[in-house]
């Protein structure tokens, strides 16, 4: 390769690189800087404080709870969404009557804005006359305070998240399933392979890239989508449904603790980069790209 081609390449990526630099790297560096400083309180203190904001963060019980909540939330919603999405995709991939309608139903929650989803589920979770309590009422226990009990508030948030995103991931699985050449299926049935064997040894490996993509997206969602928390519980009761990004939002825009919020953002970025690296390292190697 000669120098000219290099220059051409650089020129081509320059606009995109500039945008990424201006809108991703610069804010990240500014946040990092801000996390090491403190604003004066009542005219006292302020200036460079080193890691004091991080120490204060980990000493704050509501931050620690938010962190643990978020890890649990991710550990449940990511696998649950992936499994459900795959099951739905397999279900509507066959030639069954009303297939298009069924696909639409599964996909519907994805098209709703998260705020609308929150409003709908707020009604579903209402004690006594909400949808869930009407259903559980049929079997004799119809007064569950889903959002008002620390034990059920986080599971309730997880249900909303899975319901909202599984349909979206189903679309990707559906596309991937359609891409599996029919000849493989014919060959396998000639060899007498069982359906289960075919699924485990052929379908699942071929869906690998999709699964990796879906898992990364679901992980990002688990840390970056908190609209339903804002709308439904505001992190309560007793911090039971507070997630990291919600903590960042309240610290920054409700309490005006901008440096503390910056420190929490850095923690969030570190966790997300770590998880993404882990996913790519563990699953990326096992993913089969054709």
């Amino acid at each position: 390769m000669d120098g000219e081609t290099h220059l051409g390449g650089w020129l081509l990526v320059l606009p995109a690189a500039l945008f990424i630099f201006a809108f991703t790297n610069v804010p990240l560096l500014a946040t990092l800087a801000s996390s090491l400083y403190a604003a004066p309180i009542a005219g006292h203190g302020g200036g460079f404080v080193g890691l004091a904001n991080f120490r204060a963060l980990f000493a704050d019980p509501s931050f620690r709870t938010s962190l643990v909540n978020n890890l649990v939330y991710a550990a449940v919603t990511v696998p649950a969404s992936v499994v459900l999405a795959l099951a739905m995709a397999l279900g509507v991939n066959r030639a069954i009557p009303g297939r298009a309608t069924l696909r639409l139903f599964f996909f519907l929650p994805t098209m709703l804005p998260m705020i609308a989803v929150g409003a709908i589920w707020l009604f579903f979770f209402t004690p006594q006359y909400g949808l869930l309590d009407r259903v559980t009422g049929l079997i004799g226990r119809g007064d569950i305070n889903w959002l008002g009990n620390p034990a059920t508030a986080l599971p309730a948030m997880m249900m909303v998240a899975v319901w909202k995103q599984a349909g979206f991931f189903m679309i990707f699985y559906l596309a991937a399933l359609q891409n599996i050449p029919p000849v493989l299926h014919e060959a396998a049935s000639l060899e007498g392979a069982s359906r289960r064997y075919f699924f485990r040894r052929v379908t699942l490996p071929l869906l690998g890239p999709t699964t990796l993509f879906v898992m990364v997206t679901a992980t990002i969602n688990a840390f970056c989508v908190v609209d339903h928390v804002v709308e439904m519980t505001e992190g309560g009761p007793d911090n039971a449904s507070s997630l990291l990004l919600y903590y960042v939002y309240t610290a920054g825009f409700r309490d005006w603790q901008l440096n503390g919020a910056a420190a929490a953002t850095i923690v969030l970025v570190v966790i997300l980069s770590g998880l993404a690296a882990l996913l790519f390292a563990v699953f990326g190697r096992r993913v089969h790209y054709r």
Binding site: A42, S62, Y129, D133, G137, D143, G148, R254
Partner: protein, 433 residues
């Protein structure tokens, strides 16, 4: 950032020049357009009422007030302060009265005395009920204009009282008889169960309920300067123990946290017989209740008491002197007796002044709906709402610990001691200021 500062500096200079050049009335008339933020936190059609007032004001004075709905109280403060810092904020806004210390610390508001009050203006400021001047008048200055003001009240279902063999005309005055009445009103065998009483405990509302309970115990949760809280005082612990006992001992309220938004629907459906809510819901309940109901002061220990709440109109520092004057003028117009009475009738918020209460339209409404007259008699025993520096942070941490006590994961004493420790750590820097 420097560019924005320069611009506001220029605006300030222009305003100061105007100040010297023209008499007061002319000055205010120079401003033809104002931007105003307001929250909606009760179930009345507030947006359309405010639009209507603005339209009428434009017709009368030629000044356009662009009113923007900005969400809850917390949202409104966030949006207004973010917009001001971005150099394009509203000149004035309705915000939580209890946010006063937070707004002072953010250095975004200006007291009415600094805008300039003539004799009529001073009389107007003096006309507000004393209970509404808590968290409003601090160290000799008036920091905002009482506007959508409320008290915590109890709504109770008189038909349910009669059915349970209770006297529907006399609401219990002390904690014990209130709990026993609530117990009688509860039917846990029914499907779904009917509950005697419900107090809101969710985030943003729990501290207010707790303030009302402490008010009934003759106790304030903070000092007037907003630099200290007294969450672990025996009187506060007593109040939380009482709240917890309603579920744990009397089984008269659902366990866990009850959400504010579910209470009015529960009351209207008849599934909860007593609810604690804002007097701001009076209009909606009057319109929708299919059974006889009344409004009462929350029972106390031993005498009833409550807490005031709601929002005031704050005028922002970044507005030019002429804009501040114009904003003050609109606030004055909004609180003239007949209009304040109209606002009270259509929303349920309490009339902010005595003349508003005596206005012919208010008196006619009370003659038709006697409950609308009740909150006035509650004001003398009303305490100020929890208000400190970092108020949202302090009230949220209190609410989280209250939730722990209500759901049984901590005793009331342990919960409030933890809340006090956390609050102390946050407020310590302000105590030396």
């Amino acid at each position: 950032m420097p560019a924005i500062r320069r611009r506001s500096l220029l605006a300030g200079t222009a305003g100061a020049a105007g100040l010297l050049a023209a008499p007061a009335i002319l000055r205010a008339q120079e401003v033809k357009e104002l931007s105003f933020f307001y929250p909606v936190t009760v179930s009345a059609p507030m947006a359309s009422i405010i639009e209507e007032y603005c339209a009428q004001y434009a017709k009368e004075t030629g000044v356009t007030v662009r009113a923007t709905y900005a969400g809850t109280y917390v949202d409104t403060l966030s949006k207004a302060v973010t917009a001001i810092r971005g150099g394009n904020g509203p000149q004035f806004s309705v915000m939580l009265t209890a946010a006063i210390h937070t707004l002072q610390a953010l250095d975004v508001i200006v007291p009415l005395e600094d805008i300039g009050l003539d004799k009529a203006g001073e009389d107007w400021v003096a006309s507000f009920w004393p209970a509404f001047m808590f968290n409003t008048r601090i160290a000799g200055k008036t920091w905002s204009v009482p506007f959508q003001r409320s008290t915590m009240v109890l709504f109770y279902n008189k038909a349910a009282f009669t059915k349970a063999g209770l006297d529907p005309d006399h609401y219990p005055a002390d904690w014990k008889s209130q709990a026993l009445a609530a117990q009688k009103l509860t039917d846990r065998g029914a499907s779904p169960a009917t509950w005697g009483i419900q107090f809101p405990a969710d985030i943003t509302n729990g501290h207010w309920t707790f303030g009302a309970l402490c008010g009934g115990n003759g106790f304030d949760l903070m000092n007037a300067e907003g630099t200290k809280t007294y969450f672990d005082d025996p009187k506060a612990i007593e109040a939380l123990e009482y709240w917890v006992s309603l579920s744990k001992t009397y089984h008269a309220t659902p366990p866990g946290v009850s959400y504010w938004s579910t209470l009015v629907p529960n009351f209207l459906r008849g599934s909860t017989s007593i609810i604690c809510s804002s007097s701001g819901n009076l209009a909606t309940i009057t319109k929708s209740a299919t059974f006889p109901f009344d409004v009462a002061l929350p029972a106390g220990n031993p005498n009833p008491g409550t807490v005031v709440g709601g929002g005031n109109i704050y005028i922002f520092k970044h507005a030019s002197p002429a804009q501040r004057q114009a904003a003050l003028r609109f606030a004055q117009w909004l609180t003239t007796p007949e209009r304040a009475a109209d606002w009270s009738i259509r929303t349920g918020y309490v009339c902010v002044t005595e003349p508003a209460f005596s206005a012919p339209n208010m008196q006619a409404y009370i003659a038709k709906h006697p409950v609308a007259g009740r909150p006035k008699s509650f004001l003398p025993v009303a305490h100020g709402e929890l208000s400190t520096y970092q108020d949202a942070r302090i009230s949220t941490l209190l609410e989280n610990h209250i939730a722990a006590a209500l759901s049984g994961s901590a005793t009331p004493e342990a919960a409030l001691k933890a809340a006090q420790t956390e609050a102390d750590a946050i407020l310590r820097p302000y105590q030396h200021a």
